[in-house]
Amino acid sequence: MQRRSDQELLVRARTDADAFAVFYRRHVRDVYAYFDRRTCSPEVAFDLTAETFAAALQSVDRYEPRPEPARAWLFGIVRNILSEARRRSIVEDRARRELEMQPIALDDDAVALLASEAGDSALEALEQLPAEQREAIVARYVDELDYAEIAARVRCSESVVRQRVSRGLRVLRARLEEANR
């Protein structure tokens, strides 16, 4: 099961609960990190993560493999959940209620465990990049926008955006290699 691709896991998850469990293990940390960076609160980020995977489980029957990676499908749900939470200033629990999932109460130790998930050297290195390179990389790889969309967003040409992403990645790689020595 562990060797299956994300697409295979999601297709199997329609009839096999274990497949969804593997998919969850594979992505839960990335999803949590995404929310943690944007909400600044481990409790809120965990709440959003739980709702995201519940919504993904609910939608798994409708998932259809496409040329793009299944991770893009998951992060589509992530962005919807986050924008809905921002719009309404509350974290929805609709999917969890419909799946009859029990709320998970977090004590101080659990919050500390979650907070420790956020210490990531790659993120630190990203934070130290010049603002324009950081924004371009975040837009490309976290928000998954294409170059044309990023160019429109920051009001410059596509080639400038490509240059910023490429330079930023080069610096990131160098810093991470240096940190790992």
């Binding site: 969804f20 965990f46 029990q102 210490g119 993120l123």
Partner: protein, 452 residues
């Protein structure tokens, strides 16, 4: 020792996944029981359809507003505009007989155009079963539940109006013969999912093609086509047929072999299914329709379509003032709305960028802590739509409450510098099928709030 929250969540999800999988065998048993009953009825020489055609169904509860309360005229989709409700069809036959199908359209106070499909009894539009939010079961079968001209109810779909106030929408969907959207999906090999009985399903094509659409041509069976005039001023159509298999494409998928995916989108701005083959317009070339997953459909710039006008950057620029709310639980904001928000096709959006925060180091080793010493991490952002109408020139005064107040009851504003950006977001020229506004919008202004 505390369990890691990710493990707790994994256990809850696993239990939920196993509960879901137990639903299918139950459905299969019910299907067999229903088949036996229908066979018995047929043995008496009376089909269910013939019975329904000659008998009035008892009136059940009307379909409820989806969110439990009547909608508000100034929020979300708004409320139905008086005088805008049109019944475009009330006599479209069902392939198996029984009550005819009907189509109703209306616009809302927030400039959305909506279509409602259902079955018609005594001139009223309705459904023959009710859907449940929390379970796949249908309730209230055997009764007629009126579908009122209100938004966001079962079997209602809405789309933002175009720049001239017309609705362009094309739906291609599976419904049960009860006029309930069928939650019926396909296995990777293209076969129907358990519980999805092909006999009781209808392929429903419905839409509004704009004021210049004159007729549509559609497939009727494998080889025949038929041309029919559009309904009403907005180019309406409603086609109800027994389930038609959607065109698919085959993809290779590792060990699972090949899988099929559908080549149609269920909702688009113009026809996108393989059922409709052509749309003819007054004084304009016809549009040939092909199955596509493009959300604009096969005729994206149809005759009669007017793009939604876009403001320029200088139309919205204004000075933004912001300061911490006295209770320190939010940020108060003031600015002059240079451009109006008249409906759901635009909105002012506030984004608050939190101050950088100390990096969390509690569970790191001493060496790792040393590496983080003196550094700060990204503090997060919060975006909020001011989801209400605003006249041009009005002074907007609002308080944005910060969300973490609800989880820990400490004052939400930490000391630091908060950046506040206000933007004006609009629907793109071609309205989005989700109704969401284009990102990032036009910058109104920015300011900083220093909290000590």
């Amino acid at each position: 020792m505390t369990d890691h929250p990710f493990d707790l969540l994994a256990r809850e999800l696993d239990a939920a996944a196993r509960r879901r999988l137990t639903v299918a065998p139950l459905r299969r048993r019910r299907s067999r029981l229903r088949l036996l009953l229908l066979t018995a009825v047929a043995g008496l020489g009376i089909t269910a359809a013939a019975w329904a055609a000659g008998s009035l169904l008892s009136a059940g509860d009307p379909v409820a507003y989806r969110y439990g309360a009547p909608p508000s005229p100034d929020a979300h989709y708004g409320t139905t505009v008086a005088g805008s409700v049109r019944t475009l069809a009330d006599d479209v036959p069902d392939p198996d007989g029984g009550l005819p199908w009907g189509l109703r359209t209306f616009t809302t106070s927030r400039s959305f155009g909506c279509v409602q499909v259902g079955r018609v009894q005594e001139g009223r539009l309705g459904v023959l079963a009710l859907t449940q939010r929390a379970s796949p079961k249908l309730t209230g079968r055997g009764a007629f539940h009126e579908l009122r001209p209100a938004v966001l109810t079962q079997a209602t779909t809405c789309m933002p109006l175009d720049g001239a106030g017309h609705v362009f929408i094309a739906l291609h969907t599976l419904m049960t013969s009860d006029a309930v959207p069928a939650n019926c999906f396909y296995r990777p090999d293209g076969s129907a999912w358990p519980g999805c009985r092909a006999k009781g399903l209808r392929t429903v094509d419905v839409g509004l093609l704009g004021p210049r659409a004159r007729s549509i041509t559609y497939r009727l069976g494998a080889r025949r086509t038929k041309t029919t005039n559009t309904l009403g001023d907005g180019g309406g159509y409603l086609l109800v047929q027994r389930q038609i298999k959607s065109p698919t494409r085959t993809m290779k998928l590792g060990r699972l072999g090949t899988v099929r995916t559908q080549l149609e989108t269920p909702i688009a701005l113009s026809p996108a299914s393989a059922v409709i083959t052509r749309v003819d317009y007054r004084d304009a070339p016809a549009c040939r329709v092909r199955a596509t997953t493009n959300p604009r459909g096969s005729c994206p710039d149809a005759p009669g379509f007017t793009p939604i006008p876009q403001p320029t950057a200088k139309d919205v620029r204004a000075r933004v003032l912001a300061f911490a709310a006295p209770n320190r639980r939010g940020i108060r904001l003031r600015f002059t709305a240079r451009s109006a928000v008249e409906d759901g096709r635009s909105a002012y959006v506030v984004t608050i960028h939190f101050p950088r925060r100390p990096c969390p180091v509690r569970h790191l080793t001493r060496a790792e802590r040393a590496a983080f010493a003196g550094k700060t991490c990204f503090g997060g952002t919060l975006g909020t739509d001011l989801a209400k109408n605003v006249a041009a020139g009005d002074r907007v005064r609002t308080t944005i409450d910060l969300p973490n107040v609800g989880l820990d009851h400490r004052p939400a504003l930490r000391p630091g510098v908060y950046r506040v950006d206000v933007s004006y977001r609009v629907q793109p020229p071609h309205p989005r099928i989700t109704g969401s506004l284009a990102y990032p919008g036009y910058a109104v202004g920015s300011t900083r709030v220093v909290v000590r």
